[in-house]
């Protein structure tokens, strides 16, 4: 992760350093280039405004060196131009600050999966098996049918397994931040209830735990 804000760096590395993932971070563009010269990474989280230059310059570096890392841009700039520019020079996704850690993790997993889709289009968690290209789900080899919202939610929970996720983070993920939810997240509950019921009917243990007033946690095992 290349990010100059110390607070963000700490929290993101703390959140991502789990499940055997390793997240390294640096503050400057030059450090990032040094690290990239020495190691091969799966994903890069890149801030655009850095003390020693534009984060987009790193994309050029990756391009000229034929590097294969998936790049997720995090930027405070919400302007369409920046977004398009970033995606045009080879970034895989663009996340606007502020964001929830759960959202970052889910997006990161998505871009990584997209990069490696040829070799691995199956995502499995315990007895759940998800075909990412066909968007179908099998539990114990038994197909179950989920709505689009439930499918997105399941992927989101699996990406953030073992973590408590706030309700508004889930709402923002599913409905986007353009839609004003009026701080009313009651209807998330309906989707959670349906997803839990479908999973348990197919023989899954109850993975979803409600955290009082706060949100939900998808148990890691």
């Amino acid at each position: 992760m290349v990010e100059d804000e110390a607070g963000l760096r700490e929290n993101i590395t703390g959140y991502l350093n789990a499940d055997g993932n390793i997240c390294e971070s640096c503050e400057r563009l030059a450090d990032a280039v040094n690290k990239l010269a020495g190691f091969q990474y799966d994903c890069i989280i890149l801030d655009i405004g850095l003390p020693d230059g534009e984060g987009l310059d790193l994309l050029e570096y990756l391009k000229t060196n034929l590097r294969n890392e998936a790049v997720l841009i995090i930027s405070a700039r919400n302007s369409l131009d920046d977004k398009l520019r970033g995606l045009n020079i080879g970034a895989d996704d663009y996340l606007t600050k502020p964001f929830h850690l759960a959202e970052l993790k889910a997006r990161l997993m998505a871009v990584f999966r997209r990069k490696t889709l040829n070799t691995n289009n199956l995502l499995s968690f315990q007895e759940i098996e998800i075909d990412l290209t066909g968007r179908t789900i099998k539990v114990n080899q038994q197909a179950i049918i989920l709505t689009k919202k439930e499918y997105d939610m399941l992927l989101y929970f699996i990406a953030n397994k073992g973590k408590i996720i706030a309700k508004n983070a889930i709402a923002e993920h599913l409905w986007g931040d353009e839609m004003d939810m009026h701080d009313n997240f009651d209807f998330i509950y309906t989707h959670i209830k349906n997803l839990r019921k479908k999973l348990m009917d197919a023989g899954c243990p109850d993975y979803l735990r409600s955290i009082y007033g706060m949100g939900y946690k998808f148990l890691a095992q």
Binding site: E5, A76, T96, K97, P98, H100, A102, A166, W175, M179
Partner: protein, 417 residues
Amino acid sequence: MKLAAHYNKASILITLTVLFAGAVIYFFAINYFANKQLDRNLTQGLAEAEEYLKTTGTEPQQYDLDQDHAVFIKTDRIELERRYFDTTYHNYREDRMEAGRAVEDLCKARGANYKVTITVSRENTKYLVEMITLITLALMAGLLVVLFITNKYILNGLWKPFHHTLKAVKDFNLADSARFSDTPSKVEEFTELNLAIHEMANRVRSDYQQLKEFTENASHELMTPLAVVTTKLDTLIQDETLRPDQLSQITDIYASISKSTRLNQSLLLLSKLDHQMIRDEENINLKITILEKILQFQELIKNREIVIQHQLSDKYIHASKFLVDILLNNLFSNAIRHNLKFGTIHVTLTNEQLIVANSSSATKLPANQLFGRFQKGKESQGSGLGLSIIQNICRQYHFELSYQYQDELHMFIIFFR
């Protein structure tokens, strides 16, 4: 009135005045000098008459010599002032009365006094004056025609670079990075004007660029701390030992962050709209977009058990998809947010207008304050910028936005033009 017309008017007026005054002066001056010339002739005639009087032995006779017509009258007066005067004159040869000039004086001959009156015709002078007047009039008419044509064609040609510059200034758009173009002109003033406009455009553009960067940077500076707070909270809630009351505090903080984020984004959007910076326009079928939007909002609608009715016909508009999305988001958000439980929403789309009407516990809203920034109802949880954004988007596409309260429904109407 165009400058050329003003100029035309002034130049014609001045020309006419000068020509007229000139003609009057001309008339009197020619008359004066002609009379002078005649008087000189008359003086000479007088001398001849005197000579005649002296040499002739008999009573002096009236005689016609050349054009001179001399009359001798014996008089008792000893003194008579020589005087010149206008008179009528009988031309014997043509037998008609003509205007004439005469002189009378006293002559002494052989002890008697004679009053001598010599008259000459002024017909020649009159003819001269008439000719000169005619020529002057013709000159006046000619000058007028020439002036008119000059102003119309040559001046218009001269002003061409100015009109070009004017058009370029009218079409000037800050958001366009196209340079201000001008046609080279031989007129120093226009070249100077172009230069000044060039400099102004560049200055404005650089100021604008700075302002734009400032706005973006301000947003950057605001968003980053908000991102830090959000991620810190995301980390904090992983602590399973937090008590419910602490969690509820954190939920409130989340809500506040999301509110300030939204507010910041709205302000940025408004500033972009003010500068018409969003111009990725395309043809959009509003009917399809509205149907998608209703689908997107269906959970919120169902949650409050609101009945939504729509009557939509195909309507294409040329606009930015991004802005239309925001426009509909805000319209629907408002219609749901300010609605009653078990309330209604009516959406009507025709070729002329889009109406979004909703029931509400509030009565008629004050239309004049409705679209102001940070104007919101007492119980509203929104930012107070929603309607202002709707209005600005409408303004960008020259739609007319109005509000009506009818049959206990709050109606927001967008007229397409």
